[in-house]
Amino acid sequence: MSLSKDELAARVAADIAPGSYVNLGIGQPTAVADHLTREQGVVLHTENGMLGMGPLAHGAEIDPDLTNAGKQPVTELPGAAYFHHADSFAMMRGGHLDVCVLGAFQVSVRGDLANWHTGAPDAIPAVGGAMDLAIGAKQVFVMMTLLAKDGTPKLVRECTYPLTGLGCVTRVYSDLAVIDVGPGGASVVEAFGVDSEELGALLHLDL
């Protein structure tokens, strides 16, 4: 059976090594936080300048001076630290984060990532920290559905959308399969309710 979004988030969370420093991108990756256990001791980074980010803030907890990268109010955990933007992105660019989890429009079998721009001619370009996140972490996980709503594959031989980063993604977590990508191409780690041949047919790839 294919995985629900929530099951997928749990699968990603289970793959994060205890004690890791992790950045969860805006959108679906945020849900991974709900599945991290206290025993894992994972420390969350938010690129607007914090380590030790806690869950979303509600009611009286809300502090306009404390938000995540999606500008939502969040909370602070014991052991947190604040830093400015140059220091925060130095931390990312310098490869100090263990894992970063991102959404994507497309990922190539070599790990190229497209997740910032649809390429639509009238779209206003806006990149934020997407390119910094893509190239910085030791491991870059992508969470996405394997097929777009119209059935076209999102894991592709070559990205057709404008790129966010070259060869940066290490693993794709999708509803149908977990797939490693990189210099050696794509290889299925685990499939959910389909076999490699069916996956290959869906994606027009040899897997």
Binding site: K71, H117, D132, L163, T164
Partner: protein, 219 residues
């Protein structure tokens, strides 16, 4: 030179010239110097280049400055937001220029300006449309793109607390771009919630030392 304590925000933004490059701190509303921007709208400088993470939200602050037609160019990482309709309209009408810079590169280019670095090789954006036309170089097996410093004539910064000589502390993630922008502009104007006596801030916890600050105002 020592920082000056201003009586009000209009005094704090006095003298900003037409054509200036203005660095504006904040990430969303956190750390945004809203009262200084309102004062800049009253002050009247035109033909501005604004450097900030976003390009205005709703109809106030940066959005209001844009709506007044006072901004020639925006340099930012993320203009497009659910409530960035003012920027969106001006951009589609061709009435404002846009330079999109990856968020970390934006911060690092300002750091370089403040730190006297002439240029730096950055791995961010290599192979993407944002690196098109830029010089690249392979160093130790990795490809980098050459990035130039980004300096301001003026920085408008929102901080939490200042002492009377201009040492600053920020609060939580509202710190964001303030400390970097403070190093990168000729004239640094800071709005704070409170000014305390010299000696009241812990010297170990000062984030922006007074040397970077020119004008302080409580707002």
């Amino acid at each position: 030179m020592s920082a000056v304590l201003c009586d009000d925000v209009d005094e704090a933004v006095a003298g900003i010239q037409d054509g200036s490059t203005v660095l504006v701190s904040g990430f969303g509303m956190a750390g945004m110097p809203v009262d200084l921007i309102d004062a800049l709208i009253r002050q009247g400088a035109r033909d501005l280049t604004v450097v900030s993470n976003n390009a205005g939200n709703g109809d106030t602050g940066l959005a209001a400055l844009l709506a007044e037609g006072r901004v020639r160019k925006v340099i930012c990482s993320f203009p497009r937001q659910s409530d960035s309709w003012v920027f969106d309209r001006l951009y589609r009408e061709g009435r404002v220029e846009l330079e999109v810079v990856p968020q970390g590169t934006l911060a690092e280019r300002m750091r370089a300006a403040g730190a006297g670095i002439g240029a730096f090789y950055c791995p961010t954006g290599v192979g993407t449309p944002l690196a098109e036309g830029k010089e690249t170089r392979e160093i130790d097996g990795r490809t980098y793109v050459l990035e130039l410093p980004l300096a301001g004539d003026v920085a408008l910064i929102g901080a939490h607390r200042a002492d009377r000589i201009g040492n600053l502390v920020y609060r939580r993630t509202a710190r964001n771009f303030g400390p970097v922008m403070a190093t990168a502009a000729t004239t640094v104007v800071v709005q704070v919630r409170e000014v305390v006596e010299v000696g009241a801030l812990d010297p170990e916890a000062v984030v922006t030392p007074s040397i970077y600050v020119d004008r302080v105002v409580v707002a």
